[in-house]
């Protein structure tokens, strides 16, 4: 073990450390009392894991897990032209989202490059909440403010207005039901409604990033500890455990969900990432990136770029982001995310590979793991899909 290795790798994230003091969530003292290993994530000091990340992962798949996601960036958009602004600023048809529903979407540059992937909740006819990745929240806020010129709409930085607690896993509906009168059975996937949980006002959303059923609860920071403790108590008998960002990453990877900075970047369009379905050319009016994205779509027909695929290891060595994918003695792609999969019991990865090697079952594909070519099976994403 090298000291530098420990210092570098144990942090669990490859983003540069911020030069300023890390930001702390409202649950910081609670995490420390639970013995969490903390990590810098996009300038926030966040729980990486509390105990074994594999146990935390398995708890979410089979029982339930509790996450502090307060680093996520909330931006509120209000006003008579809130819908029109978001239709212009984002690639999705946000005006068509019903009140009480949510939409997965993206914000792109004029050249079609992805600035961030987002979940947008329509809270009222003229009020939306945009949730951005922590690492991109400022970029998204700046872009929305800039793009709001000429619209009768207000863009408000609400990053400090919310703590975000997620309860994920098959036991999560039962746990939440014991703490709220809200109609959870009527709350569909990608829906959100205001309610009261454990006496605390909350926006209750049926969303997540784990591949399981689950909820995300947006509350005022001063209510976060109270809500966390109530959820912990309600989940005591059914195996709820606190979960860190490490298992969140392996859960989303198994579920084939992209992570900005890995599968998504400004160098890629939504079409490059295999997520062209989020781009709605049919919506009314212009939107930022329309022309470039139209060209990207047309180019797909004759110039197939690299394709995002799943890889499953035949051996036990773990592929990491940036490792080369090889076949026939040539580099044919690059790993974007990789980890040991607790559910499959094998290392898995997402990778962009040349289209000729992207078909599931393509033989002779390997990953260059520090000089050694390890055999990998090409599979369709996701690796894991829950039984409904």
């Amino acid at each position: 073990m090298g000291r530098n290795d420990l210092a570098r790798h144990a942090l669990g994230d490859n983003r540069p450390m911020s030069s300023t003091e890390p930001r702390l969530t409202a649950l910081d003292a609670l995490h420390r009392s639970l013995g969490a290993t903390m990590t810098d994530f996009a300038g926030w000091d966040m729980p990486l894991r509390y105990g074994s990340e594999r146990d935390e992962h398995n708890a979410v798949r089979t029982k339930a897990g509790l996450f502090d996601l307060s680093h996520m960036g909330e931006i509120t958009v209000t006003g008579p032209q809130a819908a029109a602004l978001l239709n212009f600023a984002l690639v999705g048809n946000i005006a068509s989202v019903a009140v009480g529903r949510a939409r997965y979407t993206m914000i792109c540059r004029e050249d079609g490059g992805i600035l961030d992937d987002l979940i947008v909740y329509r809270l009222a006819e003229t009020e939306y909440m945009v949730v951005a990745n922590a690492s991109n929240a400022q970029v998204v806020l700046d872009a929305l403010v800039e793009r709001s010129a000429g619209f009768d709409a207000e863009v408000r930085d609400d990053r400090d207005a919310y703590a975000l607690i997620a309860v994920q896993g098959p036991e999560s509906p039962g746990i939440l039901k014991s703490l709220t009168d809200a109609d959870l059975d009527g709350l569909k996937y990608y829906a959100g409604l205001p309610g009261t949980v454990a006496g605390v006002p909350a926006l209750i959303a049926r969303t997540g990033y784990t591949g399981e059923d689950g909820f995300e609860l947006f509350v005022k920071p001063e209510h976060a500890v109270e809500l966390w403790q109530a959820l912990t108590k309600a989940g005591e008998g059914v195996g709820l455990v606190p979960c860190g960002l490490s298992c969140r990453d392996t859960l989303r990877l198994e579920a084939g969900m992209p992570l900005y900075g890995h599968e998504l970047s400004t160098e890629l369009t939504p079409f490059d990432a295999g997520l062209g379905r989020v781009v709605k050319f049919e919506k009314e009016g212009d939107f930022v990136g329309r022309q470039a994205l139209r060209e990207a779509l047309e180019n797909l027909n004759h110039d197939v770029p690299r394709v995002l695929v799943g890889l499953i290891a035949e051996g036990r060595r773990v592929p990491r982001a940036g490792y080369a994918v090889v076949a026939d003695g040539q580099v044919i792609g690059e790993v974007t995310s990789g980890a040991p999969s607790p559910t499959l019991g094998k290392p898995i990865a997402m990778a962009y590979v040349d289209a000729a090697y992207a078909a599931p079952g393509t033989s002779g594909v390997g990953v260059d793991i520090r000089g050694s070519h390890e055999p990998y099976e090409v599979v369709a994403l996701p690796f894991y899909k829950r039984q409904k």
């Binding site: 073990m1 036990r316 060595r317």
Partner: protein, 125 residues
């Protein structure tokens, strides 16, 4: 966490047992295992390999990272722990016991290995 008194420690977070018939056992400390998280893959030197103090002789992979394994002493590897190769979680569950990594016939020992108390202070700092 407590570091066994009878072991000596490197600043790279390996431990070394006292020699029995000139052969010492090597592992990583509980502090290192905790910092790594769940270990999922262990690559060890082979029996007969010569290892050199302070140089890499294998690697440890956990969920989030891969780290080089450094030998705390120089000598010839006499045995490797096949149990830990088959079940790397032993490194986490019993770093000072069942999670040992390899045995080495010590040819030369660096002068700067730490006592348990020195290592405890070092790893807390």
């Amino acid at each position: 966490m407590s570091n066994p008194q009878q072991l000596r420690y490197s600043k790279e977070h390996e431990w070394l047992s006292g020699a029995e018939d000139g052969v010492s056992t090597v592992g990583i400390t509980e502090h290192a295992a905790n910092a790594l998280g769940d270990v999922v893959f262990v690559q060890l030197p082979e029996v007969g390999d010569t290892v050199t103090a302070g140089e890499t002789c294998g690697e440890l992979e956990s969920t989030k990272s891969v780290s080089d394994l450094y030998s705390p002493v120089s000598g010839e590897v006499t045995e490797v722990n096949e149990d830990v190769v088959n079940d790397p979680s032993l490194v986490n569950s019993a770093p000072f016991e069942g999670g040992w990594l390899f045995k080495v016939r010590v040819a030369e020992e660096p002068a700067d290995l730490l006592s348990a108390d020195e290592y405890t202070a070092f790893s807390a700092g």
